[in-house]
């Protein structure tokens, strides 16, 4: 599932979460395939973003993410809890590139 800006919505993408109005009423259900009229309708309703199926491209390269994390953790590397958090973060970053 990925959250996309409505500008990047394209026909044939599938909604991964229902689109609701402010009162929580479902306007378009989960699994619905987007079409040009539906995307135009989102624009007319001022809907900025929707969840669609699929995986986002990572924001940074794996090396960049891990390099930033190494610097971030450099002053607290002797702390067991922080090492655990860093391990979880590294596993998460690696999963983005599998």
């Amino acid at each position: 599932m990925k959250l996309i800006d409505i500008k990047n919505a394209k026909p044939d993408m599938r909604l991964a979460r229902a689109v609701e109005n402010a009162s929580g009423m479902i306007l378009y259900g989960e699994g619905m395939k987007l079409t040009i009229p539906i995307i135009e309708k989102f624009n007319s309703l001022d809907i900025d973003s929707v969840y669609v199926e699929g995986k986002s491209e990572p924001r940074l390269s794996r090396e960049r993410y891990l390099g930033i994390a190494d610097i971030a953790f450099s002053k607290i590397s002797n702390n067991p809890l922080m090492n655990e958090i860093k391990k979880d973060f590294t596993e998460y970053i690696n999963s983005l590139y599998e």
Binding site: M1, L3, N21, A22, D48, K75, L81, K87, F89, Y92
Partner: protein, 277 residues
């Protein structure tokens, strides 16, 4: 330049809204935020009179920082959903946007990122006051802006020294000005009669154990560190702060929870990079 006295710093920070360098529109917003008899209705009227401000409020309230299920299209609806305390905080964040950019490049992104992270974590741990946590994330570093406005030359020096000596910005602030941003921010939040949970989140976001950490303090403490690890924005130094064990225990998150949190934050950042950031 000599270090100002503690009492002088406090006095100057608390009178921030009357400084000549504050743009008139911000002074107006700060006056509304600090007014004793302010109500949701009055704030809604004030926001609605200013088109640019209305647009900013609606943009933020419809962003992943809040995650309301559908599109919020009117200011009156927005203020009812978010509540008075969180609304005052959001207005403060919005009004400080330009000054955040001037104080430190990347601070607005760091603040927005922390707000998004706080929302995601608040939803994960299941607290009711998700909007309060988001707003606390948005304005947790407001003290940096206050110190930057009150002492522009000294604060430039703070940023330079933190970089040269590879130290935390908090250490450079204490060394050069004598007060850190968490304390300075809490003075403002108290003066503007923010809810106590917001005041405490600003004051204790680096050392939650100094106060028995509430859920909101613990959330902001963790969000601040996560957003630094994820390399989003800049808050004066690249170093994560140690998560205090008491705060971690308060949140009771597992490693799997954390991975889910990283994923949701990243998705929110990716989806909104071109609009609110």
């Amino acid at each position: 330049m000599n270090k100002p006295s503690y009492a002088d710093i406090k006095k100057k920070v608390e009178r921030l809204s009357s400084l000549p360098t504050i743009p008139p529109v911000v002074t107006k917003i700060l006056k509304v935020i600090g007014s004793e008899d302010i109500s949701l209705k009055k704030i809604a009227e004030f926001i609605s009179r200013d088109q640019a401000l209305s647009a900013r409020v609606l943009k933020i309230i419809n962003s992943p920082i809040y995650g309301f299920p559908g599109r919020i299209s009117s200011i009156s609806q927005a203020v009812m959903l978010i509540g008075l305390g969180a609304l005052k905080g959001m207005l403060l964040g919005i009004s400080m946007f330009d000054m955040m950019q001037k104080t430190m490049i990347g601070l607005w992104e760091h603040s927005i990122g922390t707000a998004v992270a706080a929302k995601v974590i608040a939803a994960k741990v299941g607290i009711k006051e998700i909007e309060d946590a988001s707003v606390a994330g948005l304005i947790h570093d407001i003290g940096k802006v206050a110190l930057g406005i009150c002492y522009p030359e000294l604060y430039k020096n703070v940023i330079a020294v933190a970089k040269e000596r590879d130290i935390y910005i908090v250490e450079a602030e204490e060394d050069i000005i004598g007060v850190n941003h968490a304390e300075a921010g809490s003075w403002l939040a108290r003066k503007w009669r923010f809810p106590l949970s917001l005041v405490n989140s600003i004051e204790y976001h680096h050392n939650p154990s100094a106060k028995r950490p509430s859920m909101t303090i613990a959330i902001v403490h963790l969000s601040d560190t996560i957003i630094k690890m994820m390399g989003f924005g800049f808050s004066g130094d690249p170093f994560a702060h140690r998560i205090e064990q008491t705060a971690w225990d308060t949140l009771a998150l597992t490693g799997e929870d954390l991975k889910g949190i990283f994923m949701e934050i990243e998705e929110a950042i990716l989806s909104q990079e071109t609009s609110i950031f």
